[in-house]
Amino acid sequence: MADIQPRPLPTPTPETAHFWEGTRNGVLRLQRCLDCGHIYFPPRPFCPACGSKRVEVFTASGRGTLLSYVINHRRHPSFDGPYCIALVKLEEGPTMMSNIVECEQTPEALVLDMPLTVVFERQNNDIFVPLFRPAEQST
């Protein structure tokens, strides 16, 4: 196995700090406009749909579905072998990029629209990155 380097880590800004504070505490946070109800990501202190500054931060369900992806075969210093870069459609509406873990990184295992659940991977004391794993199917 090649020597795996840390992921490229984000530097939170004042406008995104709540998101990274959330992941550090094991929750996925989104924002909602109190005027028009639009739910959005990535973070900003105003609504991108209507411009209102009356917005709130709330804890999302952490559930989503696999919207699209690629399996990167070129070497990345932070990944061992081919890995999936995914777009996850969150239950609340927004889309975010992530990786799919606890799942083979193959087209056969990665089926579009499969249900996913967020998990948080510790990078250091400050940064926990939200990743997604296949959700347990309800019986």
């Binding site: 992921r7 490229p8 880590l9 984000p10 530097t11 939170p12 800004t13 995104t16 990501f41 990535p42 919207l67 699209s68 992806y69 690629v70 399996i71 990167n72 075969h73 070129r74 990345h76 932070s78 990944f79 081919p82 890995y83 870069i85 995914a86 777009l87 889309t95 975010m96 990029m97 992530s98 990786n99 087209p107 579009l112 629209d113 990078q123 990155v129």
Partner: protein, 379 residues
């Protein structure tokens, strides 16, 4: 028509692998070739637009005293947007004769500044941690959703490359000219599933330059003038994950429809089309977002031979970024091919072509610029 024409157009003397020329000199080589194309010198230029270098660096290096500069840098379609801005500047008298340059040592990396945007930008916070590393992983990520929604097959995606190679085979300056098959595409190594190597653009060195001025002056120059009939531009998001619709580019739709409306043309008026093809799905998105095909029908349109030599809508007739060349910001080469087609000097000339649409994309669907060009007769 805009009343503005392209009177000078040239690529760098060499294309491909150019390890003995810096990026700045690639800009200059293209500019000097464009001067030669027009009979003008740096002293005749009063406006400069560029991306990948700065207009400041260019005017110093070339000896230009500008009264108009544009440093719009939104990826590979920056040059389409420069053309649009140059048209407005010439129309309003802010400049008389504008030079637009591109030079990029994409393969050899000679004299190329460091890239990178730190770690606090939106894309750096919300995409880079997941191993997104440049166009091969980002430009490509929408296509599986498109395949599921519209039934695009792997064979159809590969066919885009096969058809463009047919065009490249007719272009002596194309990097790759040998015919390929769908099986050749599938046999090339996987880059980012579902994209094989041959479904990704080249990485080469080169440059190009354009000179624009008022159309009334256009016949004072040695080359057949190419008229700018219409222009459009737009932008959407620096993050591919935040596209409104993974199956369509909002920037394509906005820029394309504005350019065609500005030109006063309909789809049946278009004889020649360039769609910036960094990857095999781009022509599919472009054909649909420009309205040449209904949603979900572009792959079949290509597979049926409509865009190949002899087809009713010749597309990417230089071979495109997939086979001709791709330095990183390919838009300049698409513009150059539209100019050659309108001059009637393209190696794979479309007989009787009078109107060309040239659609650019920048930064993984982040931005777009679209230029409609025409011959004197079309203007």
């Amino acid at each position: 028509m805009t009343g503005v024409a392209i009177v000078g157009a040239a690529e760098t003397t060499e294309l491909g692998r150019i390890p003995d020329v810096s990026q700045l000199q690639l800009h200059a080589d293209a500019a000097l070739n464009a001067f030669a194309d027009t009979g003008l010198t740096a002293k005749d230029i009063d406006g400069v637009a560029t991306a990948g270098s700065t207009p400041v660096e260019l005017v110093h290096y070339l000896g230009i005293t500008p009264r108009w500069v544009d440093a719009t840098s939104v990826g590979g379609c920056s040059f389409m947007i420069h053309v649009r801005h140059a048209v407005a500047a010439i129309q309003t008298g802010q400049a008389e004769t504008i030079l637009i340059t591109h030079g990029e040592s994409g393969r050899s990396q000679i004299g190329r500044g460091a890239r990178g945007a730190g770690t606090a930008g939106l894309a750096q916070q919300f995409e880079s941690p997941y191993g997104a590393m440049g166009p091969t992983t980002m430009f490509t990520i929408p296509v599986l959703r498109y395949m599921k929604e519209y039934g695009l097959t792997h064979e159809q995606l590969a066919t885009v490359c096969v058809v463009q190679r047919e065009w490249a085979g007719r272009n002596p300056r194309a990097s790759y000219r040998d015919p390929i098959t769908v099986d050749d595409v599938f046999a090339s190594r996987m880059i980012a599933y579902p994209f094989h190597l041959l479904e990704c653009c080249l990485v080469t060195d080169g440059g190009g330059a354009l000179i624009l001025t008022r159309a009334e002056r256009a016949n004072d120059f040695p080359q057949k003038p190419v008229h700018i009939l219409g222009t459009g531009e737009s932008a959407e998001s620096p993050m591919v994950s935040q596209m409104q619709d993974l199956c369509s580019s909002r920037a394509f739709r906005v820029a394309g429809s504005e350019a065609m409306r500005d030109a006063g043309i309909g789809h049946d008026d278009v004889d020649h089309l360039m769609v910036y093809d960094a990857f095999a799905h781009l022509p599919i998105y472009g054909l649909e977002d420009l309205g040449f095909c209904e949603k979900g029908e572009a792959a079949g349109f290509i597979a049926d031979g409509n865009t190949r030599p002899g087809g009713k809508l010749p597309l990417n007739t230089n071979g495109g970024g997939l086979s001709y060349m791709h330095s990183g910001m390919y838009g300049m080469y698409a513009l150059q091919e539209s100019v050659r087609q309108m001059r009637g000097t393209a190696p794979a000339q479309v007989p009787g072509a009078e109107v060309s649409v040239c659609l650019g994309v920048g930064g993984m669907f982040a931005a777009s610029g679209c230029i409609v060009m025409g011959t004197e007769a079309a203007a």
